[in-house]
Symmetry: C2
Subunit: 385 residues, 2 copies
Amino acid sequence: MHLPPDASANRVPLLAMFPKLVLSARNRKSPFFDGAVEAGMTHATVYNHMYMPVSYGDPEAEYKRLIEGVAMWDVGVERQVELAGPDAMALAAYLTPRDLSKCKAGQGKYAPLCGFEGQILNDPVLLKLSEELVWLSIADSDMLYWAQAIANMKGFDCRVSEPDVSPLAVQGPLAVEVIARLFGDWVRDLKYFWFQETELDGIPLVLARSGWSKQGGYELYLRDGSRGLELWRLIAEAGRDYGIGPGAPNAVERIESGLLSIGADTDRDSDPFECNLGHLIALDREQDFVGKQALLAKREAGLRRRLVGLTFGGAPVGGNEHPWPLLRDGESIGTARAAAYSPRLATNIALALVDCPHDAPGTHIAVDCLGNRRTATATVLPFIL
Amino acid sequence: MHLPPDASANRVPLLAMFPKLVLSARNRKSPFFDGAVEAGMTHATVYNHMYMPVSYGDPEAEYKRLIEGVAMWDVGVERQVELAGPDAMALAAYLTPRDLSKCKAGQGKYAPLCGFEGQILNDPVLLKLSEELVWLSIADSDMLYWAQAIANMKGFDCRVSEPDVSPLAVQGPLAVEVIARLFGDWVRDLKYFWFQETELDGIPLVLARSGWSKQGGYELYLRDGSRGLELWRLIAEAGRDYGIGPGAPNAVERIESGLLSIGADTDRDSDPFECNLGHLIALDREQDFVGKQALLAKREAGLRRRLVGLTFGGAPVGGNEHPWPLLRDGESIGTARAAAYSPRLATNIALALVDCPHDAPGTHIAVDCLGNRRTATATVLPFIL
């Protein structure tokens, strides 16, 4: 591994120069791992103590499939924190600032979790299977232990555990055709973020209309880890006529769409307001929840910084290994958290945490891309609606 | 990436076939990352949401340096959970089943953390800097959030945070010479697991006699992340006469020495008794602590399974990508969690979670190494004292 001065400016060398990821028992394989290997996985990362495929060696084709066709993703790393018992919904409501009072069985809700200082810890999708059974489909941090600590110390009548549940995502404009072929036409009427318990060749599943892209699609929550490869192959087979191929949560598309990645776009101090999630924070409800006092104080104090978009020219960037410094008049004003070249916008874009008042749309900001300084313009999110 | 049927049997192809690890802002670089790249890092993993170098491309040389000479490791991933305030020690004592009542300022203690069901969550080294300042130098799980939840819900007067502290380990029989050259002869008298606050060229440090090997050595807890590369180079320079070179927590040596790796050797249900840590679990003290009731019940119920050693012949194994099934008379009796070829013992060895009573030394057990079945013999730990 050897980094040239401006590795970021050139996608292919960057992909080639990464170190090898050593596999051992410390991080787990997803039930779809063998399917991903079979499909030619070349790049991976670790997420929730599991391997997540990131690329199959052809980033352009993977992006195109997602935008114009259909892709299948091993997202088994989206672990579930299961809340089971009479107090399942009460515990969920205590864990998230979002108002869940209108959430129905069969419905999913994006439900950020905050700490006692109002900082954002994770941003799961909550799936309400019943009044007494809730899953939090989490991003990359150990919310199992967090929820166990809070459930126990507060005496909620609710068991918190990690069930044998692993999502596989089918994403892209043709996803609906693949899923309808497998499950029937009822899936066309499934509303966004709603789900249904079902099965496929006897494989127990929860089928949700969801996924970490804005291209439409479904997530199949596999409920029997021993049948992952079988499910993977069934999807690949059903999708063949639609040109399905392997992919992964797409760094380019998710930046274009302004989808949040906890830990990448946020740091230990980030709060929901600066991440543009203020509309989800129900501070005026009577119920207490973790972080309420701190979030009230933050709302009162106003924004310190904000997650905004940046666009900038120059050679297409192939991603960023670490947050890039942002400068104005030589002064540090934040960091670009995630950068990419957008084929649809034909420019470089980034999600950036920018100190106020430099977050105003139109502000010119210097981005230090590994020593190569470029002038960016702040813009509202998302880049592409 | 393409796995032959018995990839495990051959070290070099296994190292070569791993996927590339994509770097992004979601996982952080350690302050020593650029030093590790400069030293030729080829293989890495992710640990506590950071990159940890695993190899520099020559596993035999890295092992030899650790056993016979001196190696320097970027272990910045060993994050600290800082407990600061009047209740720091009271919170620490509530978090671990270990008796801390005799722990003095300047002393470290291996202090496993358990959940409410008595399961092991992490096994940090606790550093007592003062009565009001404690670090938990953690293994790979988000104990920051766990400790924050418990501190807050129980009302401990103690702030829990992640400080800017990153360890660099110097390990091997010649480590003492390198550290003495840099800091003076007083380091020769530092007792095992004790530490001292000090500095090197103005770089603020805590110097501890510790490290995740049984070859002796020190850990330098860097207290200013901006000076990582400087510290890395100072160590490399001071160690030149002793043949220092880069390395990493060594999969072979740690198995030989029976050092526990949480998440690799344990699963979600593992408890301290089955991990041979029963002698550290102070159940008879009056104080309450997390998991006490569950651990009392477990002690009463007796062992279900135990972490033991296995030795087995055949071609040298180059590690295991996932736990290998263990069988006796065709019946599943556990898993081999971490396997390696031991150059010093000239045989294959593994740490294995084995159901009782099959854990008795001398028991013959079949290990399924990716379809290649070998006969192993159970043995007590460690393999090498």
